[in-house]
């Protein structure tokens, strides 16, 4: 069922792989071009990735303030106005992207890595492995994430995106583990796995080279969706004020706009509220559009259509 098994071989192993890669990226290009919205999705995500990578380098370490322009209205100089200190809101959104996206990525990697490994092991081995791992998964799924995070925040200050991502990741892998286990239970009965077993291939080989590639599309899509989930979770926690203050964090911006600036009561702080909201909306939109493209890339039937 792996791609390597069904495609005809070329000259050597290396050239066959290179040809595969070329074909794959050509296919990706075709799928993206088919709908302009998918190109837009890639552009949006690329923009946010660039913001996360180089955004903080575009501004001084301490953002400039204009003491006489507190909550200034949008203008050419300040497209989204200024905050309570007279700092450009756009600069806050751009420099804040790194924390949000890094947390999202760390969360997604941990969620997907843990969920996939445990799901594969449980589904493939069944028996005691399955019982033990799935009980652990059930236990994880019963832990209410938000209340736990609220309690944790009283003893742990979550100083960086890695810590934040770690905690969110450890709280979010249960669903993926269950789904991957279900897929594994189905795939392990297929002929190519039977054949691999019959050939006496090792468990590591079967899981790593036969089962995992078959589930790669599903896992990749889950990873992207996990990024959006992590962004909502962390921004929500910052908005509630339970995580440490960081003036350019999008959740903190929302909190200060609503509770400090009265953005829901008067228009003065509205741009300060809308800028991070727009950023979250755009980033989510970009990811959803890419997931749409990925669905077609990894699903041959959709591709043929």
């Amino acid at each position: 069922m792996t791609v390597t098994a069904i495609l005809p071989g070329g000259g050597g192993q290396g050239s066959r792989r290179a040809s595969l890669r070329r074909n794959f990226w050509r296919g990706v290009g075709r799928v993206l071009r088919r709908k302009p919205s998918r190109i837009l999705g890639v552009a949006i995500v690329a923009l946010f990735a660039a913001m996360a990578l180089v955004g903080p380098m575009l501004y001084p370490a301490h953002l400039p303030r204009d003491d006489n322009a507190l909550y200034a209205a949008p203008s050419l100089a300040h497209p989204f106005g200024t905050d309570f200190e007279g700092t450009d809101v756009l600069a806050l959104v751009v420099t804040g992207a790194r924390y949000v996206i890094l947390t999202g990525l760390v969360t997604a990697v941990i969620t997907v890595a843990l969920g996939t490994v445990l799901g594969l092991l449980a589904g493939f081995h069944r028996g005691r492995w399955d019982t033990v791992l799935m009980r652990i998964t059930d236990l994880q799924l019963t832990i209410p994430g938000l209340p736990l995070l609220l309690v944790l925040s009283t003893v742990w200050k979550f100083q960086g995106p890695l810590e934040m991502g770690l905690v969110l990741g450890l709280l979010g892998w249960g669903g993926i583990a269950r789904a991957v286990r279900s897929q594994t239970l189905s795939l392990r009965e297929r002929g190519f796995i039977e054949a691999a077993r019959g050939l006496g291939l090792s468990t590591t080989h079967i899981i790593g080279r036969e089962l995992l590639p078959s589930m790669a599309p599903y896992i990749a899509m889950n990873m992207l969706i996990a990024v959006t989930g992590a962004i909502y979770a962390q921004v929500g926690l910052f908005f509630l004020g339970v995580l440490p203050f960081d003036s350019n964090n999008w959740g903190v911006m929302l909190n200060l706009a609503v509770f400090g600036g009265g953005a829901l009561t008067s228009a003065a702080a509205l741009p300060y509220l809308l800028a991070p909201l727009l950023a979250i909306l755009l980033l989510t939109l970009g990811i959803v559009l890419i997931v749409d493209a990925m669905d077609e890339i990894f699903n041959p039937r959709l591709r043929e259509e």
């Binding site: 301490h62 303030r65 003491d67 507190l70 909550y71 309570f84 200190e85 938000l146 209340p147 609220l150 925040s153 009283t154 200050k157 929500g236 509630l240 004020g241 339970v242 995580l243 440490p244 203050f245 003036s247 909190n255 200060l256 609503v258 509770f259 400090g260 600036g261 009265g262 829901l264 009561t265 008067s266 228009a267 003065a268 702080a269």
Partner: protein, 594 residues
């Protein structure tokens, strides 16, 4: 949690609407329905109708009455408006307070308010502890004897360890009916109380018996409200409480509104929306952003009443931690903070920048210190002086950034509770200013105020925002700086100083400075004559100004809201009644129907 908040908000709107539609001006009579909020608590419709319960369904000034209501005086804590007490007399040292009750005072069920009710109320107050009614032997300002002189007169005698706020504490007694609450005090209660005032195992047992009643008193739930105030609770739901006029109130003719509706809220934003829509006839102090204030002022009839608020906010140092043990570092930070800018950012409508650090609110500092105020260092922004001070402390500057004397990085972390948006903005503004001057500074937030106070008390915080200047009593003012948070506490009438990190001493200041013991001086304020108080306050203000255990940032302004569409006769700006609930304004005959 967010969803719950949203549901609560929707429920509040729904029920508030329900109250509004069922209680029209016609059904309420000619006096109309007066709409307000309770600034001290949110409504919990399941809470008992009991003023001893912190969430209780009673409302101070409306159906919860005290013997008297404190005036908002700059320096004198012993000035009051009459409440259930028509008048009172006291000996010069406040050793005895004789209270004369309103002759016509009656409960809402028609029974007269008697001295026995006051005695029962005092007994119940003992179960809660604190102020004049504490069972701690030797505590300053504790009542020693309660004597009924006649049906309308009662005498309260102070114990040996006097306090000059005894009168204030006695007159602040919340009054409840003996025929409803009396059964909460077991037979022999007064004998047990007498035993509890002593020392030894028997006294400890008696103390435990008294304080053991606390929960029973707090959870007591009378079937209906029996009030001696101008109103009595008619009904309550999660959105609002409705109170109707008490026909038996001793001064019922002065009370104009037929009903009072107390709206619930889950956050300041709801209060802003009530005010913007002109729904509230009055609202107590609420922190309001400048743009929202502008919208509130636009609503027809809305007016602002500003007055003195004996509260200030400061940036307090944990002097047990380096480099804040060094006064030069504290002074340097004071020279770098532009308090005008901080106030403009954090509390433009409800704060005035501190003139300097004295420990006292700016409005009362002039009254206490007179010309002495001008002699104090104003700590105006002066980077050159700050640099001198930092060099004097041995701090070093590397690549434009200040570091510790040993060259290690110096990171200023200012802690605030996340829920106090004005403090968060102020702390951010301060860190920005410090960063401008090469001091690496950042804001750290705690999830809520209780947790924040716990972290402070545990000594986990280097620098934290701190409420201070809680006047008008000078003892209360300086107790915030030289009290238990800084190591001084009263135990069995004896003042003792705990080392930093012990018994809640997180400020960690020295016990004596230049031969002066600020904790001892503060404690003496409890007993001193007015002239001596003035001398001590002068000394403590100078000491505070020089030593800077805190940097005073801004003084709060009591910003109240009134609406002249339906009622008038509001207290003018700066009035001594402004910090009291509108129910007391009504008792004083201020509120009139338009």
């Amino acid at each position: 949690m967010k969803r719950l908040a949203a549901i609560a908000a929707l429920a509040a709107i729904a029920t508030a609407t329900a109250c509004g539609t069922t209680e029209t001006a016609d059904t309420a009579g000619t006096g109309g329905i007066y709409t307000t909020i309770d600034g001290s608590k949110q409504i919990d419709a399941t809470a008992p109708i009991n003023p001893f319960n912190p969430q209780g369904s009673t409302f101070v000034g409306y159906d919860a009455m005290a013997l008297a209501w404190p005036k908002n005086n700059l320096t004198d804590p012993n000035q009051f408006y009459p409440g259930i007490a028509r008048s009172w007399t006291t000996t010069p040292d406040q050793g005895e307070v004789v209270v004369h009750l309103q002759p016509n005072a009656r409960w809402s069920d028609g029974r007269p308010v008697t001295s026995e009710d006051i005695r029962t109320s005092i007994g119940l107050a003992y179960t809660q502890g604190g102020s004049a009614y504490t069972v701690n032997a030797g505590a300053a300002g504790a009542a020693a004897d309660i004597q009924i002189l006649d049906d309308k007169t009662i005498k309260v005698t102070q114990g040996a360890n006097h306090s000059n706020v005894f009168l204030r504490n006695v007159l602040s007694t919340v009054v409840v009916p003996a025929h409803v609450y009396g059964s909460l005090l077991p037979a022999g209660f007064w004998t047990t109380l007498e035993a509890a005032r002593g020392t030894g195992p028997a006294a400890d047992k008696a103390k435990a018996a008294i304080t053991g009643l606390a929960q029973k008193v707090i959870t007591f739930a009378p079937r209906e409200d029996v009030s001696a105030g101008p109103f009595v609770l008619e009904r309550i739901n999660p959105g609002a409480a409705l109170l109707k006029k008490n026909p038996h109130f001793y001064d019922a003719a002065r009370i104009v509104p037929d009903k009072v509706k107390v709206l619930n809220y889950t956050g300041n934003e709801q209060i802003w929306n009530y005010l913007v829509s002109g729904k509230l006839d009055s609202a107590p102090f609420t922190a309001v952003p400048a743009a929202v204030m502008a919208k509130i002022k636009e609503a027809p009839g809305n007016e602002i009443r500003k007055g003195y608020s004996p509260v200030a906010v400061s940036m307090a140092f944990n002097q047990a931690r380096k480099p804040y043990d060094n006064v030069h570092v504290r002074r340097a930070l004071a020279y770098l903070i532009d308090r005008n800018q901080v106030t403009k950012i954090a509390s433009p409508e409800a704060g005035t920048p501190a003139v300097t650090t004295t420990g006292i609110h700016g409005s009362s500092a002039k009254a206490w210190l007179g010309d002495g105020l001008a002699a104090l260092d104003p700590y105006k922004v002066d980077p050159a002086k700050a640099e001198q001070e930092l060099r004097a402390a041995g701090m070093v500057k590397k690549d434009g950034v200040w570091a510790m004397p040993d060259g290690k990085p110096w990171k200023v972390r200012i802690n605030v509770p996340a829920s106090f948006s004005d403090w968060v903005a102020a702390a951010k503004s301060i860190t920005s200013q410090l960063n401008d001057h090469g001091i690496e500074a950042s804001v750290i937030t705690s999830a809520d105020y209780v947790l924040y106070l716990d972290e402070l008390a545990a000594g986990k915080i280097d620098i934290g925002f701190w409420l201070m200047a809680l006047g008008p009593s000078p003892y209360n003012i300086y107790q915030r700086l030289y009290g238990s948070a800084n190591g001084w506490s009263l135990l069995a009438g004896q003042l003792r100083h705990s080392p930093p990190g012990k018994d809640g001493n997180w400020m960690g200041g020295p016990e004596t400075i230049g031969g002066l013991n600020p904790g001892e001086l503060t404690n003496r304020l409890n007993l001193a004559s007015p002239a001596e108080q003035k001398r001590i306050v002068g000394t403590l203000a100078r000491l505070t100004n020089q030593q800077l255990p805190v940097v005073q940032i801004y003084d709060y302004v009591n910003t109240q809201f009134v609406n002249t569409t339906r009622y008038n006769g509001w207290p003018p700006a700066g009035d001594e009644s402004l910090r009291l609930p509108a129910g007391v304004w009504m008792q004083l005959g201020m509120i009139r129907k338009k």
